[in-house]
Symmetry: C2
């Protein structure tokens, strides 16, 4: 596209973006400027300096920053919206482990499944994601290829697990670490937008030896980490039995250097964190991937998101497919709002429900922060943008751009996503 | 369609239907027979008696009974998925009353809005609905016309309210009753599939005099009744203040002959029912319209559906647009399952969450019972059927028809509804 040379262009239409938790901005008729792949701000009129940039008009469209998914299992994509009548441990044994194991046994199956997952992200409003693959590092590379091909920006992790997993899927400690290093060497220099992230599945499936080995890799390669934390009461109890010497579930990661500080870390769920763990997450800058779809579906509970936000903890949203039934971050925003209302009603009436602007913040800037300068249209931020159309969401009312966006959060599907830009590249 | 003469035909494909709360049936390759508008059962092979009926093949489709919406506000359709950060009373004052009032002030607005609502029901999987209009009886007739034109089977109510409503929308008691009678006389003999239902909005907006007048009309014309009950704690408290002489919120309806017994009655929500009210609903055969989308969105709470079912109370699902953000009963089934899990987790761990088969029962046979023999493919039941296609909901897995249906409940939109039959008439 000649006119977008050097990723310099302007998007013109209604614009909605978040500048902070309670700071939703909108312009009825605005110009979002991309200057060499970085955002140069949103304006009511095109500033003098950008007058020669090509303008792409979206008269009926709404321009928003790309959505960010902080927690999703690509290898569970075939299972989304299936088996929703189980809790975590049964769900892992009956539905999830057999499916993930199949990815190593049948590479064609893996490639086609990963491709479908990548395509779903591509056609939706998500521009960045942090992804679990499976323990099989070879097909993990295929997933990374598929995501790179689509132009999305992602972190992807080969999963590590050396205990409490069925024989057909468990790794030995040695193999788990060796394959992780092989995977890292294969990844090295291979991608522009696809980065590795260390991925101990969760404490019940990782011995101390494996955790320590991963901690060394994190330090040696300067890699980030993702895992699960305090998702389900039975899981929490199990961890207490497995790790009697650890001060807390969080401590089982911390002891091996896998819990924030110099190691950027995402922990999914965090529903049953103790006070000490909340303080630890805050002090060590650990990100919460809040996964309300999943937490509702497999009956895990409701994370105290308001508390996390009040503490200044980083929070983003995760679809958690296939605990989450859908790969849509819009659907996840809706679930975040709805479940926070039940938390307020039934758990703690001092914790105000999440509002729509807050949920939108979490799904853009909140999670985007893990990727650096990302998730809003602030000057100097990487330019990820999505064009939304809502003409099929009929209403007789005249609405502001923010009201139109609220309706899109609750009612839209892939038909409403009509344009997408990542790091200044036009994907469609 | 010549070959469907006398509404005699056969649908061929995968079939899923509910025969009871925990009795989900499926056939990979089945024949559903329609004999003069009534169902003649589901078969693996076409019985001898029906060999000359034309067969409509749906090789990739799933055939299910039509969905039933027991509670929806047509006049709030323009507001769906808007203003979801408010509770009931504020939401009524700021969002709902101004919108409904506009329907009397601007008839064109009303006609176009109602038409959009009817079209949404038409293209979705709902075949039957029980609907609130507004206080304006003339445009209520326009809504009934639009629904009749679409071939759907509905009950529609002109809303009654003579207190605690803004001046621009309130009726006098006399006018409310007089207009109700005029409306009933205009409806008489006008429709084949569209029936009137008396609709006192809810106790806070109805004086005793109005309630008594409606009770007389119910008895005189043999009409059913719909209203709201125990939706929000502040509303419940308000009713206690307004009606100190009534034994309960339910009693405020019962005293005027508007609560079951000989008067078929639907009460929406029923979240904060007392033990006495639960017993009263059971004894008088009052239907619960369970509206979990709405109960989540306007933070009302979670109705004790398991308790109602254990008591043998009739329960169906309501979208409750626009407390509910979507007119889809599939979306409502999902919300019913999800919120029942939070009820189990946080309110009462003895109340098992709703399963997918149970939610599907509620959205078909459960609500269908209000319409008589409706909501399943049992012999002699009125033939409402929907054809679903799921090829766009990609998965590599081989699934049973019931598993495919579970995915449709969680992931589908109007694209997945490709055929529809009501009372044996093919709509598309």
């Amino acid at each position: 596209m000649a006119e977008y040379e050097n990723n310099c262009f302007i998007l013109h239409g209604a614009v909605v973006w978040s500048e902070g938790l309670n700071d939703l901005r909108q312009l009825d008729d605005g110009y979002v400027i991309c200057d060499e792949g970085l955002c140069a701000g949103v304006y009511e009129e095109i500033p003098e300096a950008y007058r020669d940039f090509p303008v792409e008009d979206h008269w009926d469209g709404i321009i928003i920053p790309g959505l960010v998914d902080l927690h999703v299992h690509a290898a569970q994509y075939n299972n989304r919206s299936l088996g929703m009548d189980m809790e975590l441990i049964e769900w892992l044994d009956k539905l999830t482990f057999p499916e993930e194991a199949r990815f190593a046994q049948d590479r064609d199956y893996a490639v086609m499944s990963y491709d479908a997952f990548a395509e779903d992200l591509f056609i939706g409003a998500t521009t960045r994601a942090v992804v679990f693959a499976t323990a099989d590092y070879l097909t993990t590379l295929k997933l990374m290829d598929a995501l790179e091909d689509r132009g999305l920006v992602t972190y992807v992790g080969k999963v590590n697990m050396d205990r409490n997993v069925p024989d057909y899927y468990v790794e030995t400690t040695k193999k788990s670490l060796r394959h992780t290093e092989r995977w890292l060497s294969r990844v090295d220099g291979r991608y522009e937008n696809t980065m590795p992230i260390l991925t101990p599945r969760f404490t019940p499936t990782c011995t101390r030896e494996l955790m320590d080995g991963l901690g060394e890799l994190a330090a040696r390669y300067g890699l980030p980490v993702q895992s699960h934390l305090n998702e389900n009461p039975r899981e929490v109890e199990w961890v207490r039995e497995l790790e009697p010497d650890s001060a807390s579930y969080s401590d089982t990661y911390l002891r091996s250097g896998l819990f924030g500080g110099d190691v950027p870390t995402i922990m999914a769920h965090c529903i049953y964190n103790t006070e000490e763990e909340i303080a630890l997450m805050r002090d060590r800058g650990v990100y919460v991937a809040h996964c309300p779809q999943s937490n509702l579906n497999i009956a895990s509970g409701i994370a105290p998101v308001r508390r996390f936000l009040d503490e200044g903890i980083h929070v983003g949203l995760g679809t958690d497919v296939s605990g989450g039934h859908s790969a849509s971050i819009f659907e996840t925003m809706k679930a975040a709002i709805q479940s926070s209302k039940m938390y307020w009603r039934y758990v703690d009436s001092t914790k105000k429900p999440l509002t729509f602007p807050e949920a939108f913040y979490l799904g853009t800037l909140g999670g985007g922060h893990f990727f650096g300068r990302c998730g809003t249209f602030r000057e100097g931020y990487e330019f990820d943008a999505v064009i939304l159309e809502d003409s099929n969401l009929y209403t007789m009312r005249d609405l502001t751009p923010a009201e139109r966006l609220e309706r899109i959060v609750y009612l839209s599907d892939d038909r409403n996503v009509t344009g997408k830009f990542v790091r200044g590249e036009k994907l469609y």
